[in-house]
Point group: D2
Chain length 377, copies 4
Amino acid sequence: MKRLNWGLIGGGRGSQIGSVHRIGAQADGNFALVAGALDHRPDEGRSYAIELGVDEERAYGTWQEMLGGERNRADRVDLVTVATPNSTHFEITKAFLEAGFHVLCEKPMTMTVEEGEEVVRVAERCGRTCAVNYCYSAYPMVREMRAMVRRGDLGAIRLVVANFSHGHHADGGDVGNPRVRWRYDPALAGASGQMADCGIHALHLANFVTDDDVETLSADFASCIPSRELEDEAMVCYRTAGGVVGRLWTSSVAVGRQHGLDIQVFGEGGGFRWASEQPNQVMWTPLGGRTQIMEKGEAGLSGEVVGLSRVAIAHPEGFPLAVANIYMDLAATIRGDTREALPTAVDGLRSMAAVHATVASAKMHGTWMDARPPMFR
Amino acid sequence: MKRLNWGLIGGGRGSQIGSVHRIGAQADGNFALVAGALDHRPDEGRSYAIELGVDEERAYGTWQEMLGGERNRADRVDLVTVATPNSTHFEITKAFLEAGFHVLCEKPMTMTVEEGEEVVRVAERCGRTCAVNYCYSAYPMVREMRAMVRRGDLGAIRLVVANFSHGHHADGGDVGNPRVRWRYDPALAGASGQMADCGIHALHLANFVTDDDVETLSADFASCIPSRELEDEAMVCYRTAGGVVGRLWTSSVAVGRQHGLDIQVFGEGGGFRWASEQPNQVMWTPLGGRTQIMEKGEAGLSGEVVGLSRVAIAHPEGFPLAVANIYMDLAATIRGDTREALPTAVDGLRSMAAVHATVASAKMHGTWMDARPPMFR
Amino acid sequence: MKRLNWGLIGGGRGSQIGSVHRIGAQADGNFALVAGALDHRPDEGRSYAIELGVDEERAYGTWQEMLGGERNRADRVDLVTVATPNSTHFEITKAFLEAGFHVLCEKPMTMTVEEGEEVVRVAERCGRTCAVNYCYSAYPMVREMRAMVRRGDLGAIRLVVANFSHGHHADGGDVGNPRVRWRYDPALAGASGQMADCGIHALHLANFVTDDDVETLSADFASCIPSRELEDEAMVCYRTAGGVVGRLWTSSVAVGRQHGLDIQVFGEGGGFRWASEQPNQVMWTPLGGRTQIMEKGEAGLSGEVVGLSRVAIAHPEGFPLAVANIYMDLAATIRGDTREALPTAVDGLRSMAAVHATVASAKMHGTWMDARPPMFR
Amino acid sequence: MKRLNWGLIGGGRGSQIGSVHRIGAQADGNFALVAGALDHRPDEGRSYAIELGVDEERAYGTWQEMLGGERNRADRVDLVTVATPNSTHFEITKAFLEAGFHVLCEKPMTMTVEEGEEVVRVAERCGRTCAVNYCYSAYPMVREMRAMVRRGDLGAIRLVVANFSHGHHADGGDVGNPRVRWRYDPALAGASGQMADCGIHALHLANFVTDDDVETLSADFASCIPSRELEDEAMVCYRTAGGVVGRLWTSSVAVGRQHGLDIQVFGEGGGFRWASEQPNQVMWTPLGGRTQIMEKGEAGLSGEVVGLSRVAIAHPEGFPLAVANIYMDLAATIRGDTREALPTAVDGLRSMAAVHATVASAKMHGTWMDARPPMFR
């Protein structure tokens, strides 16, 4: 099968996100990097792209140049990845969709719910795929959990508990550190700090695994480091469209928690749990039975996850290859074999709307709020 | 040192709680069982007491007989343990306190806040110790955590997360099981189900470790098994008197969680976590440093916990010997060396008041409530 | 059922082993401490016994006095526990057996194979039970493992791997510490250091769980701290009577390993593993299936282990209550309901013979040796 | 920096090893796949190479064609990876080295010690790098362990315990499975089964981490599935050139162990352990201190490992990116910045010589043998 043409915006030299996208896109030979606007400094971006094997004429200085250069080429890129600062996602994503490109956008897809609805509409109108990089949902064992829920192994779901709590912003003396500070500054981060940065991942993960959507919620926010204007700690209670009880805890001051994303789902027929720090296992307990350790690559997993692992059972695979699974789904989708597990603009919108609802609820002392985007109410 | 005289009410043949109290009271040679009213069936209780070595004349048929028989003896019992059904705790505890006995009462100390305040007043007036068996707080490593908080190892505490969630009442087909059903029936369990049964332990544990008290709270309850009138699932957000943010999750439908009691505390200077299923370790992470595994019995623990362990480092000690530590504290207190770590009627009252506040909050959609007993407001 | 009379030799004030035996013997109300010779200092031993509730006339100054005092009493002790220094076990045990007492001897039962054979013969001749405190074999989940092997869950056993390796004697600067030094001094410890101290437990455990006996072996010893005359590190390869392959590693310089006793057994139909630091779980993997976490107290365990646990599933029980299970077996056996899982003089002899075989093999560069005591060849 | 030209031999469509090498070589943009002889079926190999972006003229049918085609090109490949069946490694590796190419050879580098010595001599004579894919040694935390040993954190090393034991060949009914059977057939696997397949990795890892070499050894082999001519179970005791005591266990019938590679190292000043199933952590215990959890990506790791990780602390990285680290070292070495941590032909030879010594020792009932290749004695 011919490799697809891929373009990258952002992700310049030394950036972790750029490295992860390049590993992910190229891991399975589905995409070849043929165009890029990799840096906000045009010359630096161009020279780095050339170093990575991009032809000189497709090593662009800005995303606008790239849009102009690619839109009329016969061999134009099949997919554009947007890995720029958060506040620029909306504009770039929208522009490329409207020009007929498929887009993979980093999270958060947009800063506001209105922008999110706009992206959903544009993608639909243009008939292009707009994916959002909720990559935790692409770990094979996360996909397997969803398959188990759908197959009914847990029976009716009663309860989901998702956490994304770490301790990497717990140093009160570190307030001047720009890599930390912007996240709690409304001018740069928007309406929410920790919820928008991390809680949103837990929220998407919970929706994804339970194949359900948060509908109403109540939130309690705190700024454990008082100089922070936005929350660094949040607890959310919610109910889904399907009537499931949800609890979601996110924190950045939980010293000793490292990555800190995990999920537990409990149903009538059993429960399971998964943690991102050991992504290759799921602990599954059928009602009345023993806890079993499920392993990535074991015999008998559902068909849809088999291709998502590249090495045999018990050989660990990590975060960059979860991103590779997003690209695998994208390649299949672009080639016409749509993958419904791929997180799209609708997911980006729903999770952003829920984050905004937590902000509103927290301001009103935990009053329960509708968490759905207006267009889906 | 002479052994103290001990009497037990409840805890008859085959009861787990009776076995645990007998192991706990006698483990260190501090107490000798000399009196008992062990069963609601007088003959059965008397014969079992005699089998356990109690003299015939002190093998009582009822707690009232025991109260009458012991109150005027020169060698009367130094301590009475109340291990009867929950609804009888108040009456028995109050009667023995008023007759001048020290009492160890099983949790919950009372069914209502009013009764709890009454027990606090009676104990104070009579100058007797009324302890409550919040035995998780007596594990050596739990005591060590509190010592660390008090010593300032964590700096100012910011956040505490306590869970007591298990899956042993998750079987929807099990609604007729009397060992399960009464817990969710307001006629037998009172105002609360899972919060009063398990959440209350997590609440006491959090207060104990952080040396602080819950002040206000907001709760979300659910009956995941809909036929239950009382909650089997609850999430509580709270603030302490000291301004700490608290989150407390309790559930009995979390299939796959076994014991399910754990706590995490995060401060300016570090964080730690402990779980009752591995009670001999604490995971401690100083800010900016690595997570360290602290072991029961390791060199350098604070003096107050050294005597609470009976076997060398890495030889596990479990639940019954945590109860033995409650008795060790009681023996010392009765002999005049008061142990302030011993949970008393004030703790029994405070935790019961907080449970009642969660019930009220949950009924009002999570409205924040004062969690303190009226006498401490 | 009437309590049995129990006498203790050794285990004086402040000794851990004494505390553990007293908790163990009295935990289930089977034994009452009525006689004791608790200390090599007669007065100290007598006064401590009285403090523990022993009548003055049965608070003896020496084991010889106790033997003389008890042998002709109508209410003489039903069981004597020998918890004195290793080199005295043989003499005391033999004397009490010959006087018609049941004995529980601490390990090692004797210092030589010849003495071990003598104890076996004496116990048989006198028709008394001589138990040896291989208490790890009395954890409920260890008993369950043996039940699984016997029931055929693992099919024919192929391989057993047992380790007892810790790091508590790893400090080279600590050579003068008398609590450590004697273990590596042949004048005090006998022919072997770490094998006789710890390896012997792993050896018994492996034999117990697989219901088989080591038959031939090859050993490699090292003194990682060179000033030690006896080994602090040993690896043993062996074969059992049943043809099973064995590997046994024991070390006292393995810094970071805490208790360090664990076992893995692999058969045609599956494998399991257990570690003393988490004694309430077994990890069991049927061939071709997932690893399952078995829990002490779960439904469906074999009948013989049900009584060995005193608290519900997931409430941890530790080392002292494993010793209590030895006493529970002893009480049943003395009352006429013989418990074949109880470790006896034959086990004490077999394990001592195997230790001596490792010493001989290690001296001859790993030459394979017969590990059986002469009387069982 | 310009990308290097890379050629791959073997690793055709559907092969796991091919996928891993392609991910590894391209992950960091150091190598571009420009030539390949990917399959023993020439047409299939050519078409797959073209699909992966190789120019038609460099999509070769055989490795001999590739050697002929590349040797005289100005833009010839900078590195050839040999990922063919084991018995062909020697011939291909030697041929490419002699033609002046750098080579990365899959393990085992050769089938015999003599061939291994020949490769070492050829590589030296030709001045080319011959690397061997002992990729476990390229995990960042494994590199960090070696850095700690070299820096003296553990003081003089006393003891190393390495295991590579899994249960994936434990099914006695599976003897006809060709993916399993060849490993235990001397006609296909050579002199050793499990030692050559897995034990050799543990052996290299132990040598690598301790920066030392096995010198003498004693081995015990077993065929737990009796129809196997070669061993499926082995225990090796050894001593290193530096006087360290070694124990190495490898098995393929250990049901329930998944990947099963782990290592523990103990020195005068502390000990650590690492397991391939959780490759991002090291458990480190300084003598007299607490066990600490070291994390990939934490602050303060030694400089040489910083570049070996692509995502932030606690984002897991797995097996394919350990292989990528081998390629990163190769790229640096080829560009003139020699990386001494890269496993080379000398490592391939030493480990093969030790495997052959275990075979000889096991045949002679564990007689101690010289484990060094003749050229290094």
